[in-house]
Symmetry: C2
Subunit: 363 residues, 2 copies
């Protein structure tokens, strides 16, 4: 029996539509191979949505996402919309999407591709084989805590205030995503906090430690956030899966991504307790090269692979997409952003064709 | 006329006394050369103070520090005192010292020494010539903000809470240290915040931007903390001086230090509005090698150099110490922690002798 999945496509702005077209072709091809069928539905988000409706995430788009099994997002934003008031900015659409779907877990892999290892600022022997997954809490912590604002003190001085807060249930649900993710990987989970100084981190550490009893197959360790930043630089191979709060995860996931030297190649996933997740590349909408067939579609294809693995529980199909990306790099095909001497320069569409070829050769 | 300085020495625990002895010898030597006289006074802090008085920072020691022109600290702590209640731990003495002297600015250099460049996990061309100074706010922000604690919500759930807060005057005084430091260096100051999300960071950015008018010779830029972490990994040479809050500074100063690959070589300074600053190596007390003449005294000597530059405003003497350290490394002398093939292994005392020789050769 053919398994059918409803996928909402948010192609967005800039290079979004070009790289999305490649991902859709590749998904269709792998679907045929493994007897999966995808029902794709386009919806508006970001600048295109602002132009059409005045809002970055129209209710109709959010509803389409809610009604689907997974959401594949390309990229949003561009110079054109940068000076709109905050509630009309493309990025506001992203926050509304996360809130609307309850996406509290952000999965950010930092994987070194052997072909692109020279792009890293770190030594080959330090980064070779690095394969880290940062699980970041996405809807709590200091980015959302109350009270917040700029207040006047009794002395008439202004004082800026934000609150870092986590409740036990918030910690538990992201902690479980961390343990489950580690279980699917090498079975090692490092929880990052600042428990030697922060009360909220002490509660975080207590809860994560308590959860460990439910995951005897996962080896749990703890690091303070400053030490974690050092260890990422010193010897990143020591990490498998990292779980941490919103702010620490923001910093560490970006630092980890930069270790690879090819941040334009990285996908991400945002997951909720149930319902559809959102899968998207880490890179932006690159308006300067939009519509010129110059974009690199590989992070979008890797995002589709994450969708298959973490959103639809189709690991075999996900493996095929990951392998196809490695195969086209093996063959030497490179878009401009990752071009190096002796390699074959291709555009976005030709890279897509080569991915289809790679998939078909997998048989 | 001989300039006289009163220096309180907090030799502390572990290797502290050994490396302090070297720094004192070197200070005496440079004092003779430049007609400076140092009146050294030993005081107890850390484990030795706990053993002698029951307290990690006896009032007598704090008073000695207050009565001096600068405080040179070696290292404190060790296994022996790790299980004491929090108020009796050696580290509590450090917090009491910072509070007692009003040390709100922490200066953390991350400098690549050409001799030790291979110790870095980053490529030679990426780290060669890196010379970063991180100015971290030390007595405010989320490590001290109120309210804090673990509270019970109406639903009976525990909730951990910390508060990140800065008032205008707190931002201004650390901001000025940042600008003044940049002025003494290459004149470029990068302020790090998270102003796109946090209100406290928005106030931070507004104040730092306003201060810039008083320092027309300093070029000011701003980075979000997650991007700053990425940029440190990608191309650290873009940075001269960084100024940031307590938590962000904790993370970034450690990450920057690790870029050098030889964190055991790095000094630090903690400064107040007036009164004595505290100067100390970043490394710990290394109880496992204490008393065996194996310790590396160079970070302690570089801390003395920072004391001369930032605490006593004696840049010529500071330059002499910095040069002596480079000279002994040029000659190939290495303690065990930084030993590499073809170099000459020496102990702590012999390294001290070579530093004196290097100083005397400067004439
Ligand atoms: Mg980020
Ligand atoms: Mg630290």
């Amino acid at each position: 029996m053919t398994q059918n999945y409803r996928i909402t496509l948010l192609s967005g702005d800039g290079i979004g539509p070009e790289i999305m077209a490649v991902a859709v072709d590749v998904l269709k091809a792998v679907g045929k191979q493994l007897d999966l069928s995808f029902e794709f539905k386009e919806a508006l988000m970001g600048g295109v949505a602002i132009d059409a409706t005045g809002e970055p995430l129209p209710e109709e788009s959010l509803q389409a996402c809610r009604d689907s099994d997974a959401v594949l997002l390309a990229a949003i934003g561009g110079y054109k919309w940068d000076n709109l008031p905050r509630h009309q900015r493309p990025e506001t659409g992203l926050l509304a999407l996360r809130a609307g779907l309850g996406l509290f877990a952000n999965l950010r892999p930092a994987t070194i591709l052997p072909h692109l290892i020279d792009a890293s600022s770190l030594k080959r022997e330090v980064v070779e084989g690095v394969d880290i997954m940062v699980v970041r809490e996405l809807t709590g912590g200091i980015y959302f805590g109350q009270p917040r604002g700029i207040f006047e003190t009794e002395t008439g001085e202004k004082r800026g205030v934000n609150t870092m807060a986590y409740g036990e249930s918030e910690i538990d649900r992201i902690g479980r995503v961390g343990f489950e993710t580690a279980k699917k990987r090498q079975g090692r989970l490092c929880s990052v906090d600042k428990a030697n100084v922060l009360d909220v981190s002490q509660l975080w550490r207590d809860r994560i430690t308590a959860l460990a009893a439910d995951y005897p197959e996962v080896e749990l360790s703890h690091l303070y956030v400053d030490n974690a930043a050092m260890q990422l630089v010193r010897w990143p191979k020591q990490f498998d899966t990292i779980v941490t709060g919103n702010l620490f995860g923001d910093i560490l996931s970006d630092a980890a991504a930069m270790l690879t030297g090819s941040i334009g190649m990285l996908p991400s996933a945002s997951l909720g307790a149930s319902g559809p997740g959102v899968f998207e590349p880490v890179h932006g909408s690159a308006p300067d090269i939009a519509g010129q067939d110059k974009a690199n579609p590989l992070a979008q294809v890797l995002s589709a692979a994450m969708m298959l693995r973490y959103g639809l529980d189709e690991p075999a199909a996900s493996d095929r997409l990951d392998s196809a990306v490695l195969q086209v790099l093996d063959w030497g095909y490179r878009t401009g952003d990752i071009m190096s001497e002796g390699m074959k320069a291709v555009g976005c569409r030709e890279m897509g064709d080569m991915l289809l070829k790679a998939l078909s050769e997998q048989g």
